[in-house]
Amino acid sequence: MPKVKIDGFEVEVPEGTTILNAARQIGGDIVPPAMCYYSTLKGSGGKCRTCLVKVTKGSEKDPRPMPKLVASCQTQIMDGMEVANITSDEVQNARKGVVEFLLLNHPLDCPICDQAGECHLQDLSFEHGMANTRYEFERRTFEKIDIGAYIKLHMTRCILCYRCVYTAQQLTPERVHGVVGRGDHAEISTFIEKAIDNEFSGNVIDVCPVGALTDRTFRFKSRVWFLNPMDAHRDCPTCSGKAVVWMYGHEIFRVTARKDQFGEVKDFICNTCRFETKKTSDWTVEGPRAIDRQSVIAQNHYTADVSTVR
């Protein structure tokens, strides 16, 4: 199997693996952030450019470095390849520029946005962004759209990662929403605001890295850091029934799919589980979900086993 060195860490991965996935096998700080790539969605990636890395050595046979920074979610590894991510200033500067571009039209409405606290763009701009904007022109704004009874679309917040489009395409038999327009005019649209009424449509909320697609049944109900995420399951005829219930006391405020350490959902859940079963009696709660200590959701939460607390 080909060997690849990322920021000095060597890893052996199968042929055809992308640099991003090889870095994820090593884990830790050297994993490039990704806003559009989603491992469970075919064809995703290559759009947001946040995962740019520098290839300092092309391969064992051809050791020349690649002339430009490459998108690590799309570039496949070669034997003996050497990649610099956090060790390269060029990459860090480029990423800073990418974040600035992503934030050009993104509104600063985190205090209002339901995604705040679990937003990937928030994390990314906290790490790489600038405190002030240099953009002087008017930002593009859109009216909020209700996509059906469950989903709200804030097009103003969208960063055009296409994840929801791929979700709709790959999870549901007929796609009813896509991207309309080009460049600055591109927007996610359902054509004449046609409601998505597929049983798995709610997953576009989970794949959205920003707050463009949000849960209408949870809209302004609480903030994510006041809720306790608990692993729970139920017998569901349409999906796996494995979900995370976000509880406040004994009340379930919202239900989401289980996200892994990279914020990606492996088991998509159906709309019945997500929007309609919010009674505590519907779910078998397995226990508190492990929260990253650095996350704001971990604030004022005790997730350690209570019996070990003295």
Partner: protein, 174 residues
Amino acid sequence: MNFWERIYLPAILKGMWITLKHFFRKKNTVNYPDVKRPFAPVWRGWHVLKRDDQGRERCTACGLCAVACPAEAITMTAAEREKGEEKLYREEKYAAVYEINMLRCIFCGLCEEACPKEAIFLTDRIVPSDYVRQSFVFGKDLLVEGTEPEKRIDVSKRQKHIQEKIWAAGGVTQ
């Protein structure tokens, strides 16, 4: 004990003399509430929820004050602004219920530091005492300042420079 100590008189006179001396000393106390001591510039008391220059509530119920609060004194419920309420609330979300438990509050000022909208400030007003615990849960009626200019509540000297920065930017913080 000798004779002089046994009759106690010198000791009593000595004590009276000390008492008499205190009559002419400078007093350490003030006659509150007629006389009030000046506040230290860092004094933090009763919170205020500010309105902007157009009289709209600045608070958007983002919950950052509540998560920053080490005493967990702040609770809130958010609501969505309806059409026609644009003059009441600045943002599309607002706090329908905003409560601070003044018995829990330790007046540390972390909430005003956390506030992204410059909505909450700790002023130099003293929280009045009461006999009933429930009355210390201050709702929006006791926290939000009035719309009329005379009902506006000044923030303390400590925070003046923050406020002046907001006014210089035309009342917009973003």
